[in-house]
């Protein structure tokens, strides 16, 4: 398989974080995102940072790789920091350059907000770094299960997600094949005015869509021939199971949260 066909961020591994139940990871991250906004003292920030860094190191994914994945948000983090430094006018004046005064309050607040930002992004990206999209799909299906009571099509949605995930590599290969075929006939995708480039896309899209319709029809027929008739009573190849490890992580996280609320300044 061509490397270019791998999308998403998942890095295969067998670390503790990889082995956790995806539901555990999603739940912990959800509450982490929630409690980050309650941190307001040095001690509470330290607890959060320690937890995030410890999780990051446990994944055994190279730190440089993780940080590289965060590149698009570095700009945002630096921007936020700079904005706070120049806008907040509290505390004592630290530096004064050409009438621009930098206050200690601004530096502290800028640092706190950027740190909050960084921790949020770091921890949420750990989920997709250590969990395959198919695991996330299973977890979403399981966690949305209560919504079935209000007739929300949970099973259908999960089935569709798995089918989409299965077909993404296939469709990418197909797109590649068609665009090469059209390029060999002289279609130019890369240069020319915007109008020309849009026009060039049409001979790519038409065969792509037509073949997608064909694939959909064949798959639907194959599924019905094998007796697919919806979610009721369907069994699974992969079953999710909460292990002792997951319970331990929940307890650890509860301790982190408790620590945060204890060290918070009111």
């Amino acid at each position: 398989m061509n490397n270019a066909f791998i999308i998403g961020q998942y890095v295969p591994g067998n670390s503790l974080v990889h082995r956790l139940d995806p539901r555990t990871k999603i739940t912990v991250i959800f509450f982490f995102v929630f409690i980050v906004f309650f941190a307001n003292s040095l001690a509470s920030y330290s607890i959060l940072t320690a937890f995030s860094l410890a999780s990051m190191l446990t994944t055994r994914i190279p730190v440089r790789y993780i940080l590289k994945g965060l590149t698009p948000v570095w700009f945002l983090i630096i921007f936020t920091f700079t904005l706070h430094i120049f806008v907040t006018k509290q505390g004592t004046v630290l530096v004064e350059i050409f009438n621009l005064k930098i206050y200690s309050g601004g530096v502290i607040q800028g640092f706190a907000i950027s740190m909050r930002f960084f921790l949020l992004i770091l921890v949420t990206s750990l989920l997709t770094l250590t969990t395959t999209p198919i695991e996330i799909t299973d977890a979403i299906e399981d966690m949305l299960h209560p919504l079935k009571k209000i007739k929300f099509p949970v099973h259908e949605l999960a089935l569709m997600m798995s089918i989409s995930l299965r077909f993404i590599p296939t469709l990418m290969q197909e797109t590649d094949k068609i665009s090469k075929a059209q390029a060999s006939r002289g279609v130019d995708f890369k240069t020319g005015s915007i109008k020309d480039r849009v026009k060039a896309v049409v001979p790519l899209l038409v065969p792509l869509f037509v073949s997608a319709f064909k694939r959909a029809e064949e798959l639907a027929m194959a599924m019905e021939a094998r007796g697919y008739r919806g979610g009721e009573g369907r069994t699974k190849l992969r079953e999710l199971k909460i292990m002792k490890l997951d319970i331990a992580i929940f307890i650890l996280f509860a301790a982190v949260a408790a620590g945060l609320f204890l060290t918070r300044v009111y």
Binding site: L83, L127, I140, I163, T175, V202, L205, A216
Partner: protein, 191 residues
């Protein structure tokens, strides 16, 4: 063929997969630093919406948002995540309210009318998606920006600058596709 439930599910799933594939193609024009791009990715969602009506469109949009989460979306606060990945893409499916009249217009060969329906549908879908991103921009920046900044203006310009070209691009291409290949809208692929 249109009432086949399994075919409906599969078709929506495969077309949503196409949306993701088209999003990462090098032919898209990606110049916006913090996400958002003028790409062809919304086209499959609109095709589903015009083929299967509002329900198919909403389902396809929702699925697209969920898939983006599974592949690693930037979610910073629960509210922002819900709006930008839960609502924004789902709302694209509202284009489907013109599915029936569009199909009739195309069958009767009234191409001007068909173009108008495509444009209105795409306009409604992109407008609602824009509103969701616009609002999330405010909610999100509200958390991080100092008070007294014109966050709404920034959000408006940022999101508008890629949404408007996307709207034009999708309208033209979706209409062109239906006009040249009516079977992509009306019938099964093999017929």
């Amino acid at each position: 063929m249109r009432s086949n439930r399994t075919l409906f599910l599969i078709e929506v799933a495969i077309f949503t997969a196409l949306a993701l594939v088209l999003d990462i193609l090098p032919i898209a024009f990606k110049v916006w630093p913090n996400g958002g791009s003028v790409s062809f990715a919304m086209i499959p969602v609109f095709i589903v919406a015009f083929r299967w009506g509002i329900k198919g469109g909403l389902l396809s949009g929702l699925l697209w948002g969920l898939l983006q989460i599974a592949f690693g979306a930037s979610i910073l606060t629960p509210l922002q995540g819900l709006i930008e990945y839960g609502f924004a893409f789902t709302l694209l499916g509202l284009a489907g309210i013109f599915a029936k009249p569009l199909q009739r217009a195309l069958k009767d060969g009234k191409s001007n009318l068909a173009f108008m329906y495509v444009m209105l549908g795409v306009l409604i879908g992109t407008s609602f998606r824009f509103l969701a991103h616009f609002y999330a921009g405010i909610v999100f920046w509200g958390h991080f920006a100092p008070e007294g900044q014109k966050v709404w203006l920034y959000s408006f310009l940022y999101n508008g600058s890629y949404m408007l070209p996307s709207f034009v691009l999708c309208t033209v291409l979706v209409f062109f596709l239906f006009y040249k290949q009516p079977r992509t809208l009306l019938g099964a692929a093999t017929s």
